[in-house]
């Protein structure tokens, strides 16, 4: 008995020692947490993000969180206005030669990087050359597909020569993944210590916790509103809502209207913004089951896009045509069936030789975005009304991406990115040489010709007419079924002032926001 008691005592003492050691170890953890918003006289703006940014060099960025963080640290050559049209940024709008092959940019003087060095044309040339170098693995290479060379004749001048006229070129220069980096700092160093000319400069990063920035007093656009900006990682949406309600986080962006609604309170407001992104039912005309245009048109006529928005996306969207670029936006009603028309759908099915319908395999993924599976199920129900039996295949996101890239599907629910320029949006999908033509599964000599005309002129009126024809070609042949552009919800504390919500909830004007 005594022996047992002694061993028990030993076990308890050992347990207490382990507890004490663990707490001490926890205390000694190497985490060097930054100051929190609430403890910094309300001067640090806290922006909630759900994951750690995966890239820290502008030209490599692909994740949403990297985009949000790097857009505060780096500046692209050109800025964009609320309609996403290019405007002057680090440089004035370019002078374009009469043949459309030479773009001359004049840089603003006195722009500095965070390390204090001056930003000049050498840095712009270095950045653009890096983007075009395959070894850089840049996600922005496609914006430079028409570029022949970049020259820096003097510190304030950058001359870009194109292989062929490309009116969509300037739009690419407004994107955060073309942000200018210093030519004398190694890429390895930029990975851990970003050095840009954006409104905020890098202070520290704690993986899986936060990224802390401070105001860039030399920012060429003006003085940023907050002394500091902290991107705080809170992986769970519901926790983010609680953090907003209790004032621990000042701003966060949600794509789910219900989540955004639960966050709203007397001290928290919500702004909804539209998007250039679009949700579509991608049909591969190259697949035998969808090769007949009447089959695809039957699908178009059988689907009520508004029903998809209301039921699957909980109202968080606006129905759309193919082109979402504000300057060239498609008329949503300009298609054979702007609203659901089951009689017309049946007549198209009869013309296709399948009056009783057919079986369609539709792939979607749970991991892509919140409403992807609901959209597939809604379409399944709608097409069922005209006898089209839809097999919904719900895949994990990696499998989905692999099958999508390989064009290994008949139909797919997709959320694709938009662009201020329609050529950037669709030339890659619907031209014979486009990188995603195998995925799109549709091409025609008319489209090839129209896309070539669209970038050969910089005249906006001419381009508008050309892209209207492209839009008509796409919907009249039901290349895909364009469903809606999603809404995003910016939830912010009432103590935040001066924030201008923008399309796609982009953060290009976040620097103007201050906190009381």
């Amino acid at each position: 008995m005594n022996q047992v008691s002694r061993s028990t005592r030993r076990a308890l003492v050992a347990g207490a020692a382990v507890t004490a050691a663990t707490l001490l170890l926890a205390g000694c953890s190497g985490t060097s947490n930054s100051s929190t918003g609430s403890s910094n006289s309300g001067r640090t703006l806290v922006f909630g993000i759900t994951a750690d940014p995966t890239q820290m060099v502008p030209w490599t960025l692909t994740s949403e969180q990297s985009l949000q963080v790097l857009s505060q640290l780096y500046s692209p050559l050109l800025d964009s206005n609320a309609q996403k049209e290019p405007i002057a940024g680090l440089a004035d709008l370019p002078k374009v030669s009469s043949d459309g092959l030479t773009y001359t940019f004049t840089l603003h003087s006195g722009v500095k990087f965070a390390d204090g060095s001056t930003l000049d044309s050498t840095d712009v040339k270095y950045t653009f050359d890096k983007i075009m170098d395959p070894a850089s693995k840049a996600s922005s290479t496609s914006y430079f597909a028409s570029v022949a060379s970049v020259e820096a004749p003097d510190p304030q001048t950058v001359v870009v020569k194109l292989k062929k006229a490309d009116a969509s070129f300037p739009a690419g220069l407004t994107q955060p993944n073309t942000g200018i980096v210093p030519s004398d700092v190694s890429v390895d160093s930029l990975q851990t210590k970003p050095d840009g000319s954006g409104p905020y400069t890098f202070v520290s990063r704690v993986p899986n916790e936060s990224i802390t920035l401070k105001r860039n007093a030399d920012y060429f656009g003006g003085e940023p509103g907050a002394a500091g900006l902290e991107f705080r990682i809170i992986p769970d949406d519901q926790s983010m809502v609680l953090a907003l309600k209790t004032g621990a986080v000042d701003i966060a962006v949600f794509d789910n209207p219900v989540t955004a609604k639960t966050a709203t309170s007397p001290t928290v407001t919500t702004d909804s913004v539209g998007s250039l992104q679009y949700h579509a039912l991608q049909l591969r005309a190259a697949s035998p089951v969808l090769s007949n245009v009447n089959t695809r048109l039957a699908i178009q006529c059988a689907i009520s896009r508004q029903d998809v928005v209301d039921s699957a996306a909980l109202g968080a969207g606006d129905i759309t045509g193919p082109i979402t670029s504000p300057q060239f936006k498609s008329d949503t009603n300009d298609q054979p069936c702007p609203t659901q028309d089951l009689a017309k759908a049946k007549s198209y099915l009869a013309k296709a030789g399948t009056p009783n319908g057919f079986t369609l395999n539709l792939m979607t993924s749970q991991g892509l975005y919140s409403s992807a599976v609901d959209e597939a199920q809604n379409i399944q129900a709608q097409l069922g009304k005209v006898g089209i039996k839809v097999n919904v295949q719900t895949l994990d996101s990696n499998t989905y991406v692999q099958k999508w890239l390989a064009g290994d599907f008949d139909a797919a629910i997709a959320q694709n990115s938009g662009s201020p320029d329609p050529n950037t949006m669709y030339a890659r999908y619907f031209t014979s040489t486009g990188t995603y033509n195998k995925v799109a599964g549709y091409r025609s000599p008319e489209l090839d010709n129209l896309f070539a005309q669209g970038i050969a002129t910089t005249d906006t009126a001419q381009r508008t007419a050309i892209y209207k024809q492209i839009s008509e070609q796409l919907v009249n042949n039901a290349a895909w079924i364009w469903l809606f552009t999603p809404k995003e919800y910016i939830v912010l504390n009432t103590s935040v002032h001066g924030f201008e919500p923008r399309v796609d909830a982009d953060l290009m004007t976040l620097w103007k926001a201050s906190i009381s």
Binding site: T8, G27, T31, P207, I233, L242, N398, Q402
Partner: protein, 325 residues
């Protein structure tokens, strides 16, 4: 020679050998499972944008991530690194897995210890309460409560409790950036209360059941009857003789729960934004960071296996019967 053979055949040597083989098996299994799942680091990082990569870019990325090498070479290259102290580097945070673990493991250990403490504080008194009147109302009520606590999923309980506290008292300390115990002890403990409570509530039922059963068993032992016959006061009998002995299986069971918490506190870490080792594995899985997942899983497995090995060895010291077997 005979001595060498004796050492090789010694049960302790055999047990250590088994431990090493277990770890090797775990490393192979993790390596294979990660590769069987479709996709790789390139598709994880680029998503559908991977289609715009030129063949030259794709090749360059394959070299960067080491995907151009045969699988067997990838495995031995990683294993060789592990054996020489290089657990790999995260392509996301650009920190070594060792550095990442040095930051995340203490947080998970602290959470695990506090959760066990909560589990014991709830489970043991309830076990005593249930065992005091077996089969009666208080026993039935306690058993029902323990079943209820086991049935509620951690994520639901965590969200419900946190939402209630935030909405009613405007209190949600986990929204502020995570603070370690040394940086800000008060805030750290505030941030640990909710996750430790949620995990503790899921640990309490097995603790309670174990304590209840042990108390009832020990109460029926001869030495208890003898002590009572010798006139040992009832209170002293209950605490010094019965409860103290009943704690032995509770301590053993808590050790097992502790092992599971090291790898299984992910839900609490995710919901309450605790940068622990569970989230480190999840991050690695999301980004297909093979080295991060493989090395972290190996670290968790090593801790688990080592605790088991030490327990076995301690048993050999404490209980001579094990030595004979």
């Amino acid at each position: 020679m005979n001595q060498l053979r004796a050492v090789a055949r010694h049960p302790v040597t055999r047990r250590v050998g088994e431990t090493l083989l277990t770890l090797l098996g775990i490393s192979i299994l993790t390596f294979i499972l990660l590769r069987v799942v479709p996709g790789n680091q390139i598709t994880a990082a680029y998503g559908t944008a991977a289609g715009e990569l030129t063949p030259a870019q794709l090749h360059s990325l394959e070299i960067y991530y080491g995907l151009d090498k045969p699988l067997i070479a990838q495995y031995f290259s990683w294993l060789g690194g592990v054996l020489t102290g290089n657990l790999g580097v995260s392509a996301t945070s650009h920190l070594s897995v060792l550095q990442m673990t040095a930051q995340s493991l203490p947080n998970t250990l602290e959470l695990a210890v506090l959760s066990i403490v909560v589990g014991l504080l709830l489970g043991v008194p309830l076990g005593v309460l249930a065992a005091s009147r077996p089969g009666k109302t208080r026993d039935n009520l306690t058993q029902f409560g323990s079943l209820l606590a086991l049935s509620i999923p951690s994520f639901l309980l965590a969200t419900a409790v946190a939402s209630w506290l935030a909405n009613t008292f405007n209190w949600y300390p986990n929204g502020a950036g995570y603070n370690t115990l040394l940086e800000n002890p008060a805030l750290n403990l505030e941030q640990m209360i909710l996750p430790a409570l949620v995990l503790g509530i899921s640990i309490a039922p097995p603790v309670m059941q174990t304590a209840r059963t042990a108390i009832l068993d020990i109460r029926a032992e001869d030495f208890v009857r003898t002590a009572r016959a010798k006139g040992v006061p009832e209170r002293r009998l209950q605490f010094r003789h019965i409860l103290r002995n009943a704690l032995i299986p509770v301590v053993t069971m808590s050790g097992l729960q502790f092992g599971f918490l090291l790898g299984g506190a992910l839900v609490a870490e995710q919901i309450f934004s605790i940068p622990g080792i569970g989230r480190q594995v999840l991050l690695g899985l999301n980004e297909k960071e093979y080295a991060v997942v493989q090395s972290t899983v190996l670290i968790i497995a090593t801790m688990f296996v080592l605790v088991n090995l030490l327990t076995d060895l301690v048993y050999r010291v404490v209980d001579p019967r094990v030595r004979v077997r």
